[in-house]
Amino acid sequence: MALVKVPFTVSQGGWEYSDALYYEQGSVPSASQIQSDAQARFNTWLALITEPPLLPIEPPIASQIASDVTDALGGL
């Protein structure tokens, strides 16, 4: 099965996190859903390395994620 790669970077709370999501060709969700997936991936990672929390968490910089996602999808 062919997969579509969506790399993303989340910059939040002083962290910069780069990762990638993969979706089946033909089942790529909307940009907002990808953004949500990326945020969830980041949140999971952040919980792992900040347990107990070490730094105050700032609101996500949604525009950064959206920009990354748009860029990635634009290349599909």
Partner: protein, 914 residues
């Protein structure tokens, strides 16, 4: 009381031999009428039992325990030495009666150390002995019974088994001259190590059986060994090993590796193996397989066999040879290809797709046709109820969980021979003590899908892929299930790992080793261990190609000290700024960091740099706060660590600095709020000022190497000059007259030259950098033994650097330990930079003092091997001179050159300057 016993029909003078006979049950020292010596034939008769106590060495020429008698070894230090230069009574070294008692309370040692060449017999009476050592130079022993003992050590003499059976726990050897005759003995011992030189093995038809865990068989590399008639049978569980990497081919008559009901049995060959008869390798079953492999991953060994018989076996790094039929495609249980093999036809690969259910990987019923072989691609994509437990050590080639949304649990130290792909919808559970290893020899990928690998006990993810490349497809997350052990380790043993630019998370990283391996790092990695551990281990960089244009962040707070064993590599950014983390960071190795970020908003913390090595840092962002100073010190109090702070002047403050030597003049302004503890050199405890400074310098020296007629220096770390800066190229041709300069550095202008009488020739050149300059070179006529040159870039100019004035001085024909640059010259403008350069007929070491606030450039930690240079930024006009004092008398010369800034601007605090 000694008993005089006739031992032969002979004249009185020779027929009677004195023996020492035990007369009581007691310790050796009191059981006899007199304590036996090495010249006594000793007898323990019934009903006495003699004990050799701890830390006691009993002596005898020969030793007999009669039926009903006994001997006890009380401790491992209970020793019995038998033999001297005379043959034992009746040509007997030892005789133990069949109803005698040998008690091994602990395993002492019996050593046969006669130097008589007369053959002497050893009869154990079938008793179990402690350790036995044969160590008589020129001796000759013949077994007259079976021998059962712990370690059997053969160091010297001749030992003939008499074809009796032997059952030592291990059979080992020393380096003496020795001959071993095995006959047709059956020998059961789990470790056979006859590696040492001086060993001769006579032709034999013996059988060595190794049936306990991890059997080993290794022999000497020297000629004269003869195992060609031997049968070697290794049936113990775990890894059976034959040979080591220093052993040439081992030849045996028959070889047999039979596995047990375990999935991790293997045969590891440290050398080539030739089997003149049949080579048999049988796994226990299709899932309890035997892996045949080379001791050195990626380096094949050859098995040459007349006949091969195998079942349920997998092979890695094996070259098959000989008359045997190496078509293993249809053997019982199939043959597995773990790559690196030549000459073997394996079972044809077939994709195996998992069905469903709560099953184990080893369950043949859940796969397309068989439990996956190492060459089989594996697909696990079911969405029906499944809990899949990975229990096979070799999972398959390309293992792909894409589409899988149930649970997979890795319960073994699994190996994958291709790509490994997890899926975001699945549940990934690692048995927390196991490391997964990626072993593909081609180009493969690894996809973590956001799954966390939670492990402990030094486990994690390893890449052992000779010639292979693994490229991360997303961020990998390895965490430790405990906070006390450095687990969740990414280990690069062999092959290439390309991080893909992703933010990988590891508890620690190990790239140390000697195999050929490459790490291409462009992402921002997070190191999360809170344990007192080496979080980055690059201690040994042999075979390593490393590029780091990314960053590494120590992300978790800890009270423990963590170590960055950098191995002298070039790194991108290292950040340790997590708040509330009091644990120190220790950096070892002479490394380069593009950026080092080190601070803590809430605590004081320590950055310790290894003594006597250099940390080169382009951007040194180490900043404390009031009352919470960042300590920068050496790992060894009183011994300096060196900082080379290349690039622009950094803005730092609130530091506590101790035993730090800043190698670039006027670069380390520690800040007005920092503390000068002690032992610092070239560290200025003020705020930075906008004055001229040395951006970088590089040097090279050849000392005590005859015939040098040319030399060049290239800046480290790929540094290139910036346009408009001043480049100074200083040369010392120390030990003799170099003759003419045949090739001056291209584009440079000579300032001057100088020398003492017949030695310490000094040349200084300069250039206004056009930008991009690297290497500068010079050549001369006569071969010179002691030479050095140094290339320095001085920055901070507003206008064009301009040669202003110069001065020079020398010692003439005298040897001195101090020299000034001259009577003094006055610069005509400021700002300016004064550069003083000293040369000797040999090294000018060790620095005692330098006057007038000059700071030394480069190698101060150990004796400087070449010319020594010092700098001073000038903020006023006036006479300039400096005097350098060192310890070893030399003929010496000096030059002082002052460059002015043509702009005419003045100096001030940074940020406020004109």
């Amino acid at each position: 009381m000694a008993t005089i016993t006739a031992t032969s029909t002979n004249n009185w003078a020779t027929a009677l031999v004195a023996t020492i006979t035990a007369t009581s049950t007691n310790n050796w020292a009191t059981a006899f009428a007199s304590v036996p010596t090495a010249a006594d034939d000793v007898v323990i008769p019934s009903p006495f039992t003699v004990t050799i106590p701890a830390a006691y060495t009993a002596l005898a020429r020969s030793f007999t325990v009669s039926n009903g008698g006994g001997l006890t070894f009380a401790a491992t230090t209970s020793l019995l030495n038998i033999g001297d230069a005379t043959v034992g009574l009746g040509n007997i070294a030892m005789s133990i009666g069949s109803t005698a008692t040998i008690t091994n309370t602990a395993q002492g040692v019996i050593t046969f150390k006669s130097t008589s060449t007369t053959q002497q017999s050893i009869n154990t009476g079938g008793k179990t002995l402690p350790g036995v050592t044969v160590d008589g130079v020129g001796s000759s022993y013949l077994m007259a019974s079976t021998l059962t003992c712990t370690t059997f050590t053969f160091n010297n003499g001749t030992f003939n088994t008499g074809s009796f059976a032997m059952t030592p726990t291990s059979f080992t050897s020393g380096t003496g001259t020795k001959t071993l005759t095995l006959g047709s003995s059956s020998i059961s011992c789990n470790s056979w190590s006859m590696r040492t030189t001086g060993t001769t093995i006579t032709a034999n038809s013996a059988t060595i059986t190794q049936s306990s865990t991890t059997p080993q068989f290794d022999v000497s590399a020297t000629s004269g060994n003869n195992y060609g008639g031997l049968t070697l049978f290794q049936s113990g569980s775990g890894n059976a090993q034959v040979g080591t990497t220093s052993t040439p081919t081992i030849t045996v008559g028959t070889y047999n590796r039979t596995g047990t009901a375990a999935k991790t049995d293997s045969l590891t060959l440290g050398c080539n193996l030739t089997v003149t008869g049949t080579c048999t390798v049988n796994g226990n079953s299709s899932i309890n397989r035997v892996l045949v492999q080379s001791l050195t991953v990626g380096t094949a060994v050859t098995i040459t066999a007349a006949t091969v018989s195998t079942s349920n076996s997998d092979w890695m790094d094996i070259t098959a040879a000989g008359a045997a039929n190496w078509n293993l495609s249809a053997i019982t249980g199939n043959s597995g290809d773990c790559q690196g093999n030549t000459g073997i036809t394996f079972t044809t690969a077939a994709t195996q797709t998992f069905t469903s259910g709560t099953k184990s990987w080893s369950d043949v019923t859940v796969w397309t046709s068989r439990v996956p072989l190492p060459q089989d691609d594996v697909v696990v994509n079911t969405t029906t109820a499944t809990t899949l437990t990975i229990d096979m050590p070799r999972m398959g080639k390309n293992v792909n969980f894409t589409g899988f949304n149930k649970t997979a649990t890795n319960n073994t130290a699994a190996n994958v021979y291709g790509s490994f792909t997890l899926a975001s919808g699945m549940t990934w559970s690692m048995n927390n003590t196991q490391t997964m290893t990626l072993r593909g020899r081609g180009s493969y990928t690894v996809t973590g899908a956001g799954k966390t690998w939670s492990v402990s006990n030094n486990s994690g993810l390893a890449i052992t892929a000779p010639g292979g490349t693994y490229t991360a497809q997303d961020a990998l997350i390895l965490s430790s299930s405990t906070t006390s052990s450095p687990s969740g380790i990414l280990t690069l043993n062999n092959g290439t790992f390309v991080d893909g630019g992703y933010s990988h998370t590891f508890t620690s990283v190990s790239i140390t080793g000697t195999a050929t391996r490459t790490l291409t790092k462009t992402g921002n990695w997070f190191i999360i261990t809170t344990a007192a551990a080496t979080i980055w281990n690059a201690t040994t960089t042999t075979g390593l190609t490393f590029t780091d244009s990314g960053a590494t962040t120590i992300s978790n707070a800890s009270v423990s000290s963590r170590t960055w064993a950098g191995g002298g590599l070039t790194y991108g950014t290292l950040t340790y700024t997590v708040a509330g983390s009091t644990g120190s960071l220790v950096i070892s190795g002479s490394n380069y960091f593009d950026t080092l970020n080190f601070s803590d908003a809430t605590n004081a913390r320590t950055l310790s740099l290894t003594a006597l090595v250099v940390q080169t840092v382009k951007n040194f962002n180490v900043i404390g706060t009031s009352g919470k100073l960042m300590t920068v010190n050496s790992t060894t109090g009183g011994t300096q660590a060196q900082l080379a702070l290349y690039g622009p002047v950094d803005t730092v403050d609130f530091l506590s600095v101790q035993d730090i030597n800043s190698s670039l003049p006027y670069k380390f302004y520690a800040g007005a709020n920092s503390t000068n503890v002690s032992g610092n050199t070239n560290v200025i405890f003020t705020a930075p000022v906008t004055q001229l400074y040395v951006t970088w310098s590089s040097d090279i020296a050849q000392i005590n190497t005859a015939g040098n007629t040319t030399m060049s220096v290239t800046p480290s770390y790929g540094h290139t000059a910036t346009a408009g800066t001043l480049l100074i190229f200083a040369v010392t041709l120390g030990s003799a007259n170099p003759g003419a300069i045949t090739s001056a550095p291209t584009g440079y202008t000579q300032v001057d030259n100088n020398s003492a009488t017949g030695a310490a020739y000094t040349y200084i050149y300069y250039k206004i950098a056009a930008g991009g300059e690297t290497t500068a070179s010079i050549s001369w006529t006569n071969g010179i033994t002691n030479v050095s040159c140094r290339l320095t870039e001085i920055a901070g100019w507003v206008g064009t650097p301009t040669l202003d004035v110069k001065d020079k001085n020398n010692s003439g024909a005298s040897s001195v330990t101090t020299l000034s640059t001259g009577s003094g010259v006055s610069n005509t403008a400021q700002p300016a930079f004064a550069y003083a350069y000293f040369s000797g007929n040999s090294t000018l070491s060790t620095l005692v003092s330098i006057t007038n606030n000059y700071q030394e450039e480069r190698l101060q930690l150990v004796a400087n091997t070449g010319g020594r240079s010092f700098g001073l930024p000038l903020s006023s006009t006036g006479s300039q001179t400096t005097t350098f004092t060192w310890t070893t008398s030399r003929t010496a010369s000096a030059q002082l050159v002052i460059f002015k800034d043509a702009s005419g601007h003045t100096l001030s605090l940074m940020g406020v300057g004109s």
